[in-house]
Subunit: 106 residues, 2 copies
């Protein structure tokens, strides 16, 4: 049984959130730091970060009055697992294509 990927897929569907993930890849950041890189209010960024944490892609740890956001390395596992189902599909398709070609040219 694999985890429900819905919240993760939902989190990845917004370009701003994917951009935030790209930023967090380099270093952990506070909300204010993240917001400094966007033309939107801190509250809006906070909402995006909430969606990302709900999706399991980001974790938060408190340090004094700061809240550091970091990527959760395990977060994309449900997404990868779901997409992995299609690997077999690709293989099947290609195999079918291959045998079709082989039967065409005996």
């Amino acid at each position: 049984m694999i985890a429900d990927p819905q919240s993760a897929f939902r989190a990845l569907a917004d370009p701003t959130r994917r951009q935030i993930l790209m930023m967090l890849r380099r270093q952990d950041m506070t909300i204010a730091q993240v917001a400094g890189n966007f033309d939107m209010t801190r509250a809006a960024v906070k909402k995006h970060l909430t969606v990302l944490t709900d999706g399991g892609l980001v974790t938060v740890r408190t340090r004094g009055r700061e809240r550091l956001n970091s990527i959760d390395p395990q977060g994309m596992a449900p997404v990868r697992d779901w997409l992995g189902v299609f690997d077999a599909f690709w293989d099947d398709r290609l195999a079918a294509l291959k045998s079709a070609i082989e039967e065409d040219s005996p």
Copy 2:
């Protein structure tokens, strides 16, 4: 340069659409066939299929008055490519975690 994954991520964000992809994995289907597996109107399913084709995940071919929907094997490439950027990140993180643990318990 990799393709913009926005439309594909958008398409994958809805559970109904992911379910449709799972169904199309087994066989190509008309809109009516797909709609037969859901408790919603054909028009609603048609909208989902439009989002899926916009995302490059599904292609349509006309056969008589039927419109057969099939999965596009190349459609998920932009998504995979985008996610791939985080592979190196995972490795780095896990390596850092591993060495941190090893340094903690000698």
